[in-house]
């Protein structure tokens, strides 16, 4: 059942992606400026410029350009970067691993810490503990990430020398970026976890679990947390776009490549095929995220799954 449903949803992605592609194309071409200026160097002539414009099809009407683009997309080709001079798919492919590792780890960090923090603040009877946890949760989401990143570098890399300042070659270089991004996500996860736990703890079945003589920890781990997972998973699945593209600032400060940086660089140079390719990729990832969220929800919740009997 799940498989059939998933396939259906995947099919649905095609028309949605097509309409999104129109929007992306229009937005990108609305940007003032054009990529050719980034190719021209002192000494080239106005005629050279015209020749380039023709070469990249930028002299055609928008409709023609769109159709050409979408045709190549449908044949699995994201086109060729104008300024960056590489196939767009190759560029995405080179940057994706960096975004994925950083994103996945930050994701894991914020989910784990967030769930722990949320659980502690929901379960803690002690108001002091609750406030401390809350302050900790707030920490990451109340300062701009570049500020946090710079201060963390100052503390952990320069003063303490624990981690390299920047780079992406060693795992130690991942620690600070992961912390920076992860901190931002903790608040969200913790809040969702907390709300879910508080709400679920009010339900009759929890009283009944206590009445069965189960210990507090069994109840928490075997019964309450699985319920808290549901909203956390849904909200996180929706944030896949953030994982892949949202780390621009952190990538910039820590000198890491990534999809976000690629997109921003291409945006600055008006490298249309790259910007379009990246945005389409992100949009697809976002839609897949929604799908993953729904499927995960079904996997976790029999009510949603509604197994046939």
């Amino acid at each position: 059942m799940i498989i059939k449903y998933t396939l259906q949803r995947l099919l649905m992605l095609i028309p949605v992606s097509l309409s999104i592609s129109v929007v992306i194309f229009l937005v990108v071409h609305l940007l003032p400026g054009d990529p050719i200026d980034n190719l021209m160097r002192v000494g080239s002539s106005p005629e050279d410029r015209l020749a380039m414009t023709v070469k990249y099809g930028l002299d055609r009407t928008l409709v023609e350009q769109y159709l050409l683009w979408i045709r190549s997309i449908l044949s699995g080709d994201f086109g060729e970067a104008i300024v960056l001079r590489r196939p767009v798919s190759a560029l995405i492919w080179q940057n994706l691993p960096y975004s994925l590792t950083l994103g996945a780890l930050a994701f894991a960090f914020s989910s784990i810490v967030g769930m722990i923090a949320g659980t502690v603040s929901a379960v803690a009877k002690n108001p002091v503990v609750e406030q401390v946890v809350k302050a900790f949760i707030l920490l990451g989401s109340t300062v701009p990430s570049f500020w946090l990143a710079l201060l963390m570098i100052l503390l952990f890399s320069v003063t303490l020398g624990w981690f390299p300042v920047s780079g992406a070659k060693t795992w130690t270089a991942l620690v600070l970026p992961v912390l920076t991004i992860g901190f931002g996500g903790i608040a969200l996860v913790a809040r969702v976890t907390r709300v879910a736990l508080v709400e679920i703890a009010r339900q009759d079945f929890v009283t009944l679990l206590h009445a069965k003589g189960l210990s507090r920890s069994t109840i928490l781990f075997r019964h309450l947390l699985p319920h808290a997972f549901l909203p956390v998973v849904t909200i996180l699945a929706l944030r896949i776009g953030w994982i892949l593209g949202g780390a621009v600032t952190v990538e910039f400060v820590f000198g890491r490549p990534g999809l976000g940086s690629l997109l921003i660089r291409a945006l600055g140079q008006r490298d249309y095929p790259v910007v379009q390719g990246c945005l389409l990729m992100l949009a697809l990832a976002v839609m897949l995220g929604t799908l993953i969220g729904d499927v995960a929800q079904a996997a976790l919740d029999p009510r949603v799954r509604e197994a046939t009997t």
Binding site: M1, K4, Y5, Q297, A298, R303, V304, R305, E306, T308
Partner: protein
């Protein structure tokens, strides 16, 4: 007495998906229901949870559109009314809802809530008339006029239900549909509200459609009784003394306890469960639980057939 509400072959079908992945399935919340009401009478509707009582009430008031069938109110075909006419007509047919707790906008004071019907129907009142009207309505439903400035959260369930009744009666309707008005209230409050309703009916000559799951209450309160099971009316009792003829009605009666330890019942075991209302097959819906069910009951849907004295039963083997 004139025929004042006529419901004919009213049905409401709902389609819903089974879970996230399942196929669509459909059910009749109300299935082929017909009955008439005479002015000034109290007709009761009983049935278990989910049998379609509230849906029937909403259909009659055209709060939802039926899948098929017709409702005639005071000679007018309700389903043919255009929105504007329908809105005007609503002043004459009102409803008191099952859940008093959410029946008043939490941001409205009692006075606002009670005056809203006039505002909606475009009745302009001077401020003196307004305060007279408020205290008149509140007094009518047994509330202190001083409650006028309270917010709903400052009131008890019974008080809220009284305000619901005041709102419903503000425009002096001819028909009042009462959808389990006491179901969420304590017995002591239920008794107050029922008492109030009885008094109002006598004073104002109202016509009530009284919905309840409590057969004892319906028998106490109503002139006629319709018994519903899974969307259908299975028995229509012309008066509350009439002996039940449908096995389901009898089961209901047998399941009701008396507030007297000397009248303890021997509870008969009842086979089976209420079947899922979705995609019901042919035959009598009660057949699976019925002690008398025959082969015929499983293949042929019994129709509501009137016998003497307006007593109608939908059963192949009635008493």
């Amino acid at each position: 007495m004139s025929e004042f509400l006529e419901v004919s072959r009213l049905s409401k079908r709902y389609t819903s998906k089974r879970g996230l992945f399942g196929a669509a399935r459909s059910m009749y919340a109300v299935n082929d229901v017909s009955f008439r009401m005479t002015k000034g009478r109290v007709v009761g509707v009983v049935g278990e949870s989910g049998c379609g009582k509230s849906t029937l009430a909403r259909l009659i008031l055209r709060l939802i559109e039926p899948s098929s069938g017709a409702v005639r109110f005071d000679g007018l075909d309700l389903l043919k009314q255009r929105p504007r006419e329908m809105r005007r007509l609503r002043a004459r047919m009102q409803m008191v809802f099952q859940d008093p707790y959410s029946a008043i906008d939490p941001r409205y004071t009692v006075a606002d809530a009670v005056m809203e019907p006039f505002q909606i129907q475009g009745v302009r009142l001077s401020s003196a008339a307004r305060s007279d009207m408020i205290s008149g309505l509140l007094t009518m439903v047994g509330l202190n006029p001083q409650t006028a400035s309270s917010y709903p959260h400052q009131l008890s369930g019974g008080q809220k239900q009284r305000i619901g009744i005041a709102r419903a009666l503000a425009l002096k309707p001819a028909l009042l549909v009462l959808d389990e008005p006491t179901a969420s209230l304590d017995v002591s409050i239920q008794a107050q509200i029922v008492g109030l309703l009885e008094r109002l009916q006598e004073e104002m000559g109202l016509t009530y459609l009284f919905i309840s799951h409590d057969l004892a209450l319906v028998k106490y309160f109503c002139d006629e009784v319709l018994v519903m099971y899974l969307g259908r009316v299975v028995e229509a009792l012309p008066n509350t003394d009439a002996p039940a003829r449908h096995p389901y009605t009898r089961t209901l009666l047998d399941s009701t306890f008396q507030p007297d330890p000397k009248l303890r019942r021997r509870i008969q075991p009842l086979a089976g469960e209420v079947p899922s209302p979705f995609d019901l097959g042919p035959g009598c819906a009660f057949a699976a639980r019925c002690p008398r069910a025959s082969e015929r009951c499983r293949v042929e849907t019994p129709l509501l057939a009137a016998s003497g004295g307006g007593h109608a039963v939908a059963c192949h083997h009635p008493d």
